[in-house]
Amino acid sequence: MGINEQLHQNDNASLSQTKIVTLVEAVNLALYRAMNDDENVVVLGEDVGTNGGVFRATLGLKETFGCTRVMDTPLAETLIAGVSVGMATQGLRPVAEIQFMGFIYAAVEHLISHAARMRNRTRGRLSCPMVLRAPYGGGIHAPEHHSESTEAIFAHTPGLRVVIPSSPTRAYGLLLSAIQDPDPVIFLEPKRIYRMVKQEINDDGIGLPLDTCFTLKEGTDITLVSWGAMVHETMQAAKELAQEGIHAEVIDVASISPLDMDTILMSVRKTGRCVIIQEATRSFGVASEISSRLAEEGLLYLQAPVAKVTGFDTPMPYFKNEQIYMPTVNDIKNTVKNTLEFA
């Protein structure tokens, strides 16, 4: 019996049960749960059927729910997004997979020009309850175009939600909420940590809120803000800093847009210092937005300039050099120390 079959075993018999899963297995479980609980939920994308997705996120779904609800589409990302918009206007809840975020750009017109505004431009007559999932980010030695972090494109578009889990529990809970949400959600999965850690999750079908950051560690000296795979470097940095007597508070933004700025502001009010860690290119991104909001709304709390630890303003290097590009634990620790040393 494969892992996936074990995962789904007895799902119908028991409403809730505890399972120990990786992030990608948590995605699979949430998909399974959502399809089981609502017949309007359908899954579509490239290789999502028999193959179970190239990362196996949709493994076993076709066998359980059939090819009418788990649809292998032709190889056309524009189509995948456009078809999802159309389905959603009819009250289906399509969960579309774009195989890698690097291929999402053909779908962007539908996301920005239609999904994000269908409710608004029809004054509520039609809506677009769809989820577009895509693995994103670097660090897995993938070919060109398989490692980018361009979440800011979607966060810049009102009408969309952008959600990024950083752990199996949050992947499960946030994906369930994304599927149940009445509006379009871009759900970006940090593939570097797809199988990094296992967590015990309760497969109870209960989602996590999409309007709040998660404070993963409390601290008094500095606030570290991150999301996605970088949460792991950030937590590691916080752990090592603690050994040096520096107590960092760590916030996982999780729901990038709309952004829960209050949690970040409250934390900075306490700590007076903030470092934002993102894997994406440095300029015009989510870190820049958070930094700008801190300047606008939290200036008087700040005892030092807000700092960013980010990728560089270059294309994502081919994998031989991706580690230079990506923020490291040491980058974070050094930036924290510089920020603490500011008068």
Binding site: G82, G86, N120, T122, R123, P258, D260, M261
Partner: protein
């Protein structure tokens, strides 16, 4: 189901440009029905003329006229069932009107007011006018997929111009419609001009209907100025779709007698002789001639109907001009089902800037 024509090269026509019936009417159409067709065509042309005038006097924004192409959209409207869905582009006044979209709503839309998309009646699930070219066709494929998945006996009609057939969305939706046997009817209004680019620069294909062959679906070429041919082809395609026999591509060949929109000046790129020749083939005169000869329509009826249309259009224009302004909060209240806390302050700022105070919906 038997194909409607022998080949995508055979142009379906019943009524020629002289107003002569060149073959028997199809069985599903009684001759009296053609009076309804005619009346709607006249209504749409008069409305279109009025809309252009409203734009010229600054009472609506940029407007896309359907002059000369009325038979395409009107023919579609007369073929669709109330439970079907229309995914249209922006020259579909005829089908929209027949599906219950009010003329004042069309003016609202072109007048810069989102409430022009709040359709009722048969159009309540129809998509709003689609401006990004061809994207409505992939949406239509999604709607058709939903119908198929739910075993509903419904179909989608997606319209576009011929320029749209150069775009990926057109090909991707067409291809999917073939693979998934979708209840989808794609109607291309080939009016020969995509703003300034002629049909010949869009594709080297002998015609657009031919493109159905590449994806395994029936392609039908019709005279788009013959409303009987258009209605018949769409009727055929919808019957096929409703009975689970898949999709159809229809190319309706017509001519854009107007500018692309009111913001365009077609004299910059188009020969006046070509336009004058195209006027000889326009869709309304030929049907009027036919109905006269059949004794189904008289000059008196014409006068009365034109008066009726003009009165109706005036009433709709009045209604448009007298609409209360939108509530400024609406721009935020319809952004998500529930306004996220993150945007509440901006909503207040927007309302304050608009100079009004109002409550959520």
């Amino acid at each position: 189901m038997k194909p409607l024509t022998n080949s995508f090269r055979d142009k379906l026509q019943f009524l020629n440009e002289a107003g002569e019936l060149i073959q028997d009417l199809p069985r599903h159409l009684k001759v009296n029905r053609l009076v309804d067709f005619y009346q709607t065509l006249v209504m749409i042309r008069l409305f279109d003329k009025k809309a252009v005038a409203l734009q010229r006097t600054g009472q609506i924004g940029t407007y896309a006229s359907c002059l000369g192409q009325e038979a395409v959209s009107t023919g579609i409207g007369f073929a669709m069932q109330s439970t079907d869905v229309l995914a249209n582009y922006y020259r579909d006044h005829g089908a929209q009107y027949l599906r219950g979209v009010k003329l004042h709503q069309m003016l609202q839309y072109w007048g810069g007011d989102e409430r022009g998309n709040v359709f009722e009646g048969d159009a309540k699930e129809d998509l709003p006018n689609c401006v990004p070219i061809a994207t409505q066709i992939t949406h239509a494929a999604g709607i058709a997929s939903a119908f198929k998945l739910r075993h509903q006996k419904r179909a989608v009609v997606a319209t576009s111009g011929e320029g749209a057939t150069s775009r990926g969305d057109f090909y991707e939706a067409l291809n999917l419609a073939g693979v998934w046997q979708l209840p989808l009817v794609m109607v291309v209004n080939n009016n020969h001009w995509a703003i300034s680019v002629p049909r010949e620069l869009q594709t080297a294909s002998p015609n657009i209907a031919a493109k159905g062959q590449a994806v395994g679906i029936e392609g039908i070429l019709v005279d788009g100025n013959d409303i009987i041919a258009v209605q018949t082809a769409v009727h055929h395609a919808l019957e096929k779709a409703h009975s689970g026999k898949g999709a159809t591509l229809i190319e309706a060949e017509t001519y854009r007698l107007c500018d692309h929109t009111t913001a365009d000046d077609a004299t910059r790129y188009r020969d006046a002789n070509e336009v004058n020749q195209a006027w000889e083939k326009e869709p309304i005169k030929r049907l009027q001639t036919f109905l006269h000869h059949q004794g189904l329509w008289s000059p008196n009826q014409e006068t009365e109907w034109v008066q009726h249309c003009q009165q109706h259009i005036e009433n709709e224009v009045e209604q448009y001009l007298n609409m209360p302004p939108q509530e400024p909060g609406d721009f935020f209240d319809y952004l998500y089902e529930e306004l996220p806390y993150a945007y509440q302050q901006q909503r207040d700022q927007f309302i304050a800037k608009a100079g009004g105070v109002q409550h959520g919906h």
